[in-house]
């Protein structure tokens, strides 16, 4: 395990206030989810999950086909599609577009994909101002932190924390009333919306048969981001494509429920193409950036490919006993929680943080709540296997890794040689470090093993 991962986990666990905030706020979403998918409220919940899984499986298995269909339909409506293989290509595309159109101010609505490619930093580096307009993201941007949670970026901040951040970064007096804080942000952001030249959004779904980008949100900021500025760029991971508009009947029933417990989010926008002749609003130019950034690396493996089914609802984070204790910032990349533990090693390679797939008790709570039925524990197990294989192949890891490998070899030998096993097992217990024996209450192991007692029966 990297020292940094270890340190962050320790810091989160030792921060009592943080523990309470994470637990309370994930708990609210968790309870919301549970209530909204209860059998008496949504009787066909399990069937919907199976359908969602089947639809995603089909879409990912035929990704090339549906992406090209999406491109054709989006362009037929006057949009332009740009294929970006990595973070640099995303940033370069937006930078050159901004330069050509003389855009200075950019408004952004929530997008995990742009977090992946550190878009804000790259834009700012080139003298552009990019403003996050989702309230939680706005708070995070002011605080200089990355999102703590897929759905609730500032989940770990309470109103007093927000008061501190606003006071320090907006140069205003201390304001601790949530409604007033929202009004302050609203006024600031409204000015940005009106002045912005370019709006960048993510995408919840890319609909192949209509070339539409579907956005799901609660604050209305995504709608403003995509319609007020004269240019709209939607940045979307390639796995967001679904075959037909009618498939949304399944996904929209599951997404908001799984995320926050809402039957439907406040706003669901269907965006296809720029403003047409005679229309009174909408951008003059409409772009969709289709981002790979490591995703195609997952395609060859049938088992692990399912990681791409994720619709970013955050249900697995809210239910995960690990996430609920170590929080979002302990994770080594932008994606936290169970889904982060399987996406990060696959997007960035297992060497990025080899301990990540092991940071799970494999309790399976994530798989139980996943609306698209990703078998996260199974993927974690496969990734663990992959870590071991690459350690052996590349002779990676220090003495601890070699010792562990040796220990499991010895264990496997003993477990297949019953006589030796019989002699060695009590010795193994006796050799456990005192601290462990104390921790599990086995400082005095039983005098006789079961097999000894059995032989005396």
């Amino acid at each position: 395990m990297s020292l940094e991962f270890d340190r962050k986990i320790h810091e989160a666990l030792s921060n009592q206030k943080l523990q309470l905030k994470i637990y309370a706020n994930t708990g609210r979403m968790k309870e919301g989810r549970e209530a909204s998918v209860a059998p008496d409220v949504l009787p066909d919940y399990q069937e919907l999950r199976s359908q969602a899984n089947a639809l995603k499986r089909h879409a990912i298995d035929h990704l090339d086909h549906y992406l090209e269909e999406f491109e054709r339909n989006a362009e037929a409506r006057g949009g332009k599609v740009f294929w970006a293989k990595d973070a640099t290509e995303v940033a370069d595309f937006i930078l050159s577009l901004a330069r050509e159109r003389e855009a200075r101010l950019i408004v952004k609505s929530k997008s995990m994909t742009t977090e992946e490619v550190d878009l804000n930093e790259r834009l700012e580096h080139h003298g552009l101002e990019a403003v996050e307009t989702d309230l939680g993201e706005y708070i995070m941007q002011l605080a200089g932190e990355r999102p703590f949670h897929i759905v609730g970026p500032a989940l770990h901040k309470d109103r007093y924390d927000v008061a501190d951040i606003f006071e320090k970064h907006l140069g205003i007096g201390r304001e601790t009333v949530i409604e007033n804080q929202a009004a302050i942000a609203r006024a600031r952001l409204r000015a940005k919306f009106l002045a912005a030249d370019l709006g960048i959004s993510g995408a919840n779904f890319l609909v192949a048969d209509s070339g539409a980008v579907v956005l799901v949100e609660n604050e209305g900021n995504a709608r403003l981001t995509t319609t007020a500025p004269r240019i709209h760029v939607a940045v979307a991971g390639i796995e967001k494509v679904i075959p037909r508009a009618q498939d949304l009947a399944v996904f929209l029933k599951l997404l908001a429920r799984s995320a926050t417990g809402q039957a439907l989010s406040v706003y669901t926008s269907f965006l296809s193409g720029p403003r047409r002749r005679g229309e009174i609003d909408g951008p003059e130019e409409f772009y969709v950036v289709l981002v790979d950034n490591g995703r195609t690396r997952l395609l060859p493996d049938r088992g692990k490919r399912q990681s791409l089914y994720c619709i970013r609802c955050g249900a697995c984070l809210n239910t995960c006993p690990v996430y609920r204790r170590i929080g979002g910032h302990s994770f080594p990349w932008v994606y936290a929680g169970p889904i982060g533990a399987i996406l990060t090693p696959q997007f960035l390679g297992t060497a990025h943080e080899p301990a990540l797939p092991f940071a799970s008790s494999l309790c399976g709570a994530c798989a139980e709540v996943c609306p698209v039925k990703i078998d996260i524990p199974k993927v974690l197990l496969e990734l663990r296997h992959e870590v071991r294989r690459s350690e052996a192949r590349e002779k990676r890891g220090g003495a601890a890794v070699r010792l562990e490998r040796l220990a499991f070899r010895v264990f496997a030998w003993l477990a297949t040689h019953p006589r030796a096993y019989r002699l060695a097992a009590p010795l193994g217990v006796a050799l456990l470090p005192a601290r462990l024996r104390e921790r599990f209450g086995i400082d005095e192991p039983p005098a006789r093993s079961f097999r000894q007692l059995w032989s005396r029966r």
Partner: protein
């Protein structure tokens, strides 16, 4: 002739909780089963499998297959070890059709203890008496990998003198997770502490589970919290009369 069952007691019960194995035998014999114990049994291979050492896990799984090849029904005092055999042996032998056929036969014959009682023996009342207030901890693998939830509760409901108080939140992990508990010790301990708190809130004087390793983790957390709550495997409760 009485029906025969074979025990797979797991390495944890063999070395650390032999009484659970004996209690399981008592219950099975009381129900009229002839119980045997294949001597060459060792481990199911889960520690190696969960740590990514699949070659080693495969070696151990093969030994398991050999050991229990000729056995009829196999009963296990652990949901986790049962889930390893039922769900994960298949992964290990994906490329070996002949072994897969053996795995398939094994999967049909192996049962977690409580599931054996409710689904094979078809009993809920095993004639036990246990006059205590208890709570029940669902092991994650029993609950989510094997779908065992109502069975043990039905068995407990028929124990004379026993009062069951449910945990809130229910179904949350105790934080053991095998080597997870060692590699992420602080995190695992924090999860266990929350479990101990939940147990204490019920006011029960014993916590019952299907998994000895959860119980071991919970025992430590209860001791650290200074809570006078005992740990018990379901078999120990059902064996008492």
């Amino acid at each position: 002739m009485a029906d025969r069952v074979s025990l797979f007691v797991t390495c944890v019960v063999d070395q650390l909780f032999p009484n659970i194995g004996l209690a399981m035998t008592t219950v099975l014999e009381r129900l009229g089963y002839t119980v045997d114990f294949p001597e060459s049994q060792t481990c199911c291979g889960q520690p190696a499998f969960n740590n990514g050492y699949w070659a080693e896990a495969r070696t151990i799984a093969r030994h398991f297959l050999d050991t229990f090849e000729t056995c009829g029904r196999i009963v296990v005092p652990s949901g986790s070890c049962t889930a390893m055999v039922v769900n994960h042996f298949v992964e290990l032998f994906r490329k070996e059709p002949e072994t897969l056929a053996r795995v398939d036969s094994l999967r049909q014959r192996i049962w977690e203890f409580s599931a054996f009682l409710t689904d094979v023996a078809g009993v809920e009342d095993v004639g036990a008496r246990f006059e205590e207030v208890v709570t029940f901890h669902d092991g994650c693998h029993a609950l989510r990998e094997l779908g065992i939830g109502s069975g043990p509760r039905r068995l407990l409901a028929r124990v004379r003198g026993l009062e069951l108080r449910e945990l809130a939140p229910a179904g949350e992990c105790c934080g053991f997770g095998g080597t997870f508990s060692v590699k992420f010790e602080e995190l695992s301990t924090a999860m266990a502490a929350a479990k101990a708190d939940a147990i204490m809130r019920t006011g029960a004087n014993a916590v019952v589970s299907l998994d000895p390793s959860c119980l071991m983790q919970i025992r430590g957390a209860l001791a650290r919290a200074g809570a006078p709550v005992r740990i018990l495997h379901l078999a120990e409760v059902l064996a008492s009369a």
